[in-house]
Amino acid sequence: MPLETQRLQNLNTNDAANEQILPKGAILQNRYEIMRILGLGGMGSVYLARDLNFTKVERLCAIKEMISNTPDPTVRKTALYNFEREANTLASINHPAIVKIYDYFSEGNRSYLVMEYVEGQNLEQIINDLDTHAFLDEARVLRWGIQICDILTFLHEHKTPIVYRDLKPPNLILRAGSNPEQLVLIDFGIAKAFQEGQKGTMMGTEGYSPPEQYRGIASPQGDVYALGATLHHILTKRDPKLEPPFTFHEAPLRQFNPGISEQTEHVVMKALNYEMKERYTSAAQMKAALQHALKSLTHSGGAHFPSPTDGTSQTRPASQAPTVAFGQNVSPNAATTVIGNQAAPSVRDAPNINTGQGGVIAIWAFRAEDEIRSSPTMGDGLVYIGAYDNNVYALDAKNGSFVWKYATDGGIASTPFFYKDRVIFGSEDRLIYAVTSHRGKILWTCPTEGKVRSSVRVDFEHAFVGSDDNRLYAINAQSGRVIWRFEAAGPIRSTPIIDTEIVYVGSDDGHLYAVNMQTGKMKWKFRTNRGIISSPTIYEDLILFGSQDWTFYALNKTSSWSIWRTRTNQAIISSPTVKDGIVYFGSVDGNLYALDATSGRTIWKFRAGSHIVSRPAVSDNAIFFGTNNGEVISLHLKSGKERWRFQTGGPVPSSPLLGEGMVYIGSTDHNLYALPA
């Protein structure tokens, strides 16, 4: 009978477990009657028990059990000796915030520590009980931190100085009903004596211990570190047990809980320094720093944030990705980064208009007769740019002076390609042109059957370009002769890229195509859910591009297999740029993304607050792009923090070009700007 079998098995399991656990009513040493189990530890259980020596009153105690499973009698003996020695020391400690030790004894392979029973929740339980987006009140946590410093100072300055070594939220109980709140330190990690000698791969780092403790160094600064780790966990809810050890420096508090003050973050991060000498030298010193942080919080900082009284403040959800522009100080429309804890800048006086950080002023500007939507290109000291006034212009790159222009019969949406002695570009008049780069004299034209908005790419002496006639053209760059045409199911506006004899291009039909460069035959296609305007780029074995289905894709360029993808909150039109293994692109959702190119992991994200269509340009340490509200923005490449902004008079779909120490970028205000990079 299956049912019986099952029950039998359950019974068996219980029996096995019961073997280890003392039953209710069991009496130890003729004195302690077990009432119930309080918790299960790695080495044994913790029980609630009654002391039978007290007949008139009910005196409760907590009994911690440690079972030694070491078969080696010598190891066991040493463990027992260490246990008894430590228990003796602890029994001599008398402090209201440290759990009292009443008694200890051993029975067989089990050792017991009889302690004061402290009623209340431990700090780990308190954190775990919070709502998903709620954090504990900062001032309250600071007060706890100050108390813990007092306890540590007491231990460190004890007549036999004691380093606690195991400070963590579960070892701190908030005494039930205490007012003002009182924390009690429990569990002196005494069980560790029994934990030696385990073999094989195993789990378990505490997450709160300082690195030097693993070299056998126990010092007051080690406890300072553990207090830092404890406060970090309490304030951020980031559980260090679930993170790689010693990674606090990668996780500044305000990244998880933007409501925390800068001072508090500073104090906690200082305590968490790897180098002992960089931390507070004593718990007393850390206490002073915490008091200072608390004081400035209650004096000024507290007013900045809606300060909760119940200790469960509703704060913004912690962002997973390290976002630069954090919410709390910014009015919703202000597209600006918050640096430090400065007062919220209003949109009006946001430090960004033309004179952002670095006070950017255009070196020169060239005014066309209509909007500039295409992007500049450079060659032989000239900058080439197409405009909606039907012209392609050649300007002196240094001073912007006019050199020549070539007029077509349609707007120029594409970026000219500089190749040897010529520039090649498409026009909305359906033609592809090649003109001499020095004088703008026509060399050839090549007709298509649709407007040409895709930009030309030349490789292996051939120009590859798409057209609104749904075709991808391969044209001999010298003669203008079409070599082959590849037909997609929708207009091709994305710019092709060539890699190992394959031409990759996106189409409005939603596909990314891989076409054999020699034959024009399709090698593979990959379907996304909307049109692809973004121009693909190659990184190692990956082809990277965005789609208007809001998703950024990384495919294996050989097999077209999707390797990773990231969804943004709007269409992606911006083309990606890769530098040093990081891919950068913008989205209509107003963010500029920096992702690890091989994994798609977010490195940083910058909220520009306005559509980004422009393809970012990257220098060694900075990135540049345009936005729909007319700004050209530059960020620090590593951090994604803002360097400067420059305001133009219209949306900037144009992509910046770097050269001559300048950034060249067009705007729909008709100007081509040269800005200092």
């Binding site: 780092t205 790689p244 990959f526 379907r527 297999w561």
Partner: protein, 290 residues
Amino acid sequence: MNFWQKLFSTGKAQTTDTLVPPNRAAAAQQPAVWQGIGFITGKKTDIGRQREQNQDSIYTFESFLESSVGQDPFGIFVVADGMGGYQKGDIASNLAARTAAEYVIRHIYLPYLSEEHSAAQIPLTEALQNAVHLANDAVVQQTPEGGTTLTMAVVMGRQAYLAHVGDSRAYLYHQGKLQQITQDHSLVARLVELGQATAKEAQSHPQRNVLYRAVGQTESLEVETYLQPIPANGYLLLCSDGLWGMITDDEMTSILNEAVSPQQAAESLIDTANANGGDDNISVILVGIG
């Protein structure tokens, strides 16, 4: 130069870093690794000298794929090192390897046979992560007392996609050099990174077996993924800590340099680990593409 170009333009390898030393190759008149297209693998798992049971599991799956793209090898290679009490670690590693491999076959290998690729397909790194998460769920549910490392390589063409949790390792062996691809999720690895322990100290650190991340320990799990092309005459080496904990990288390299075949290399690596003490279970998978 691109590997494909190299492959198709010359028809045979130009580098000499083959597992077959040139003199022996010449003697045996072996074209070495370039005989046809397909996997050349070696694999073995061993209990070692000190343990009562082997808690490691290895899994391999090799196939050819004929499609419009061409003839591509497709393979799945897994090393899992179980932990936990008696018969928990071996169940955990076995379960994790099977569960992850099944997912990959179902969601990568089978769809890979169809030609039309689209956004509807699960991206590979996501699929790899899903596979490991599924393995994690299975271990959490079925052997809560056990856990395991999991290092899995899915090889498509010349590209290896790796998913990794724990302290088993993946290396690339190429041109006589051994390069570690994965990062150990171990306490000592972090200590070494921080300069709080030297690589040498790490070898004998009392907590060298302590992981901070493993399959089957917590409900959520962060999985590392890596992308590694396997160059012509290059080999992917997957192994448990029973190998790298007992043999230095230099020893491994010279064994690989001397070996006559990947299988012999795998066996020789394990023999050496045992000769050095064989403290732990030892598993090795070597994967090359000819």
